[in-house]
Assembly symmetry: C2
Homo-oligomer: 337 residues x 2
């Protein structure tokens, strides 16, 4: 049994709900680790109703995401939805191997909330884990909800596709940019137009704000969905300017989702996506077990001899596994065969 | 048949070998696309002997990788191994959605070789493709070898783990850094010590070069494998300084691999890794097909009703697929059950 007495999920959930500060970080550590322990945590978390609200914050490095998150924390505890006054922040560490330096500073900056009992801050990273963040973050959000935290902010530190996808897997996704030629076009290229429920032009005391807003409006004219046109909010987060308006705009989007019934639909879609991701991770584990049992020896020898290629070798294994029909059958790859 | 007459792989290989300049880019496009067309290309490429040599270049952004690659190209065509005078460069575009700007400049910089018949340069990106680069780049290297190009340089533009892994999947991996406190430590943290066959301290006319070299030597004292201690070369790529020495060092590493028999072993290991990656991609396709056929409807309804969690739902599908034993059996997840 890898689950020791100290990390028994049921007991940890009870303790976390009772306000024991060590319990929640331990639950999230289990989620981060993956494996059987995280599954036991997920089993409990997913059976609790999904009642907390999540906000994702993403955007290019240097756009001021951490400063903004800091300000949103203040709004959340002072002007929380339905009178709520507590908030959790998940800071998603980059999977990039090259950015160790900047993160610590950002995290430290957020620490002026760290002694506040109403604020729970945690960094999450699942380095080296296949698709790890794509399941760990949704799981973590369900854990936060199950222990009764009413609001969760997911801030991505990194700039990879995985981090952007994670920030997008929230109820309201905020894309942060800065004034300046090309920023809106970059956002469009990066697929951020599709995930944004709300744009923030941060550092809006700088030149180029009007142009960036105009670019964004133009792109929204072309592509915004009919049901919700993303709001554009200008902020100077370092001075707290525009942050109350940003919080209002997040609240408006939340109202739109709740009253239109879209909140439930979107959450169901996200859960399906997570299910796919978990399925893939499980299949990877099955492959690793097959490898350990020597199931691939023949295929690899053919490969090394130049008598096969990785695609043909993989297909042969899948046919043997029974998940794929032999070439020519449905699902079989017949190209070039 | 998705393979049209114009993109028939056999004909394209013949044309590329005969020196038709449009044929090779078309083959690489097919590889990049994935799917049946890329499989037909791989089938031919993997049956040809793997006779070309590959050099990977990676390191933090701004370290001067492109300038260095440019200089290595010159060395390769003037002082190629065994009298070879041709080289291919694969510039791996970042999967990061935020870095459109810098790349173009780098590519343009490399274009002073673009009119040279001995130099073939191509950018590769497989955005949105699960593990795409991890199979597309090895496939592309086999294509380059099959059409008779004796040397391939894989330069990563991006900084993600995937790009680093791709650069490491070459015969000689060069890690580029700059003088300055902490660069060597960063490299160590990022796992670059493990993949480097050769370190370049570029911009070595700047302060801190001696300290960076000392840090590196210290780390190599602790961790370098007995068979090969990575060489450290100092360059000022923008002035061409140290580049001939770098080329010599690459040649020495190549000699070491060839004479020790490690070249063949390493290549076989890499092919096994690619095979695993292809297996995973194929399994993803199988999952997508199941989804299309409505195989997940029941599991997703349970999920939505809060009667299950993504892990349990995935396990149920795998049991049904026959790739996993029912809970309690080998490979089954019994935690929390």
């Amino acid at each position: 049994m890898p689950v020791t007495r100290n990390s028994d999920p049921e007991a940890l959930f009870r303790a976390a709900k009772a306000g024991e500060r060590v319990a929640l970080p331990r639950l999230l550590s289990l989620v981060e680790q993956g494996g059987p322990a995280s599954r036991a945590v997920a089993e409990i978390a997913y059976r609790a109703p999904d009642e907390s609200y999540s906000v994702g914050i993403t955007g290019a490095p240097g756009a001021g995401k951490s400063t903004l998150t800091n300000q949103i924390i203040t709004q959340a505890i002072e002007r929380g939805f339905d009178g709520a006054d507590r908030v959790a922040v998940l800071a998603i560490d980059p999977s990039s191997p090259f950015s160790g330096g900047a993160i610590l500073g950002d995290r430290v900056r957020m620490q002026n909330h760290s002694l506040d009992d109403r604020v729970f801050i945690r960094s999450m990273a699942t380095r080296g884990h296949l698709g790890g963040l794509a399941v760990a973050v949704p799981d973590a959000l369900r854990v936060l909800s199950a222990v009764g935290l009413p609001l969760a902010i997911v801030e991505t530190v990194g700039v990879g596709q995985q981090e952007v996808a994670v920030a997008a897997a929230t109820d309201t996704t905020v894309v942060v940019m800065n004034p300046g030629w090309g920023d809106a076009i970059q956002a469009n290229k990066a697929g951020l137009m599709e995930i944004a429920d709300l744009f923030v032009i941060n550092k809006a005391d700088r030149a180029g704000t009007r142009e960036t807003r105009r670019d964004l409006e133009l792109m929204l004219d072309l592509s915004a969905p009919e049901a919700w046109r993303p709001t554009i909010v200008e902020t100077v987060a370092s001075e707290g300017k525009g942050v109350a308006e940003l919080w209002d705009a997040i609240g408006e989007h939340r109202n739109h989702l709740v009253t239109s019934g879209r909140l439930e639909v979107a959450r169901r879609t996200r859960m399906e996506r997570e299910f796919h991701q978990v399925l893939l991770i499980r299949l990877q584990e099955v492959i690793n077990e097959m490898e350990d049992q020597g199931s691939f020896v023949g295929a690899l020898e053919e490969l090394a001899a130049g008598a096969s290629d990785p695609y043909r070798a993989a297909d042969e294994v899948l046919v043997r596994l029974g998940v794929m029909a032999a070439p020519g059958g449905p699902g079989g790859s017949t190209a070039g065969g």
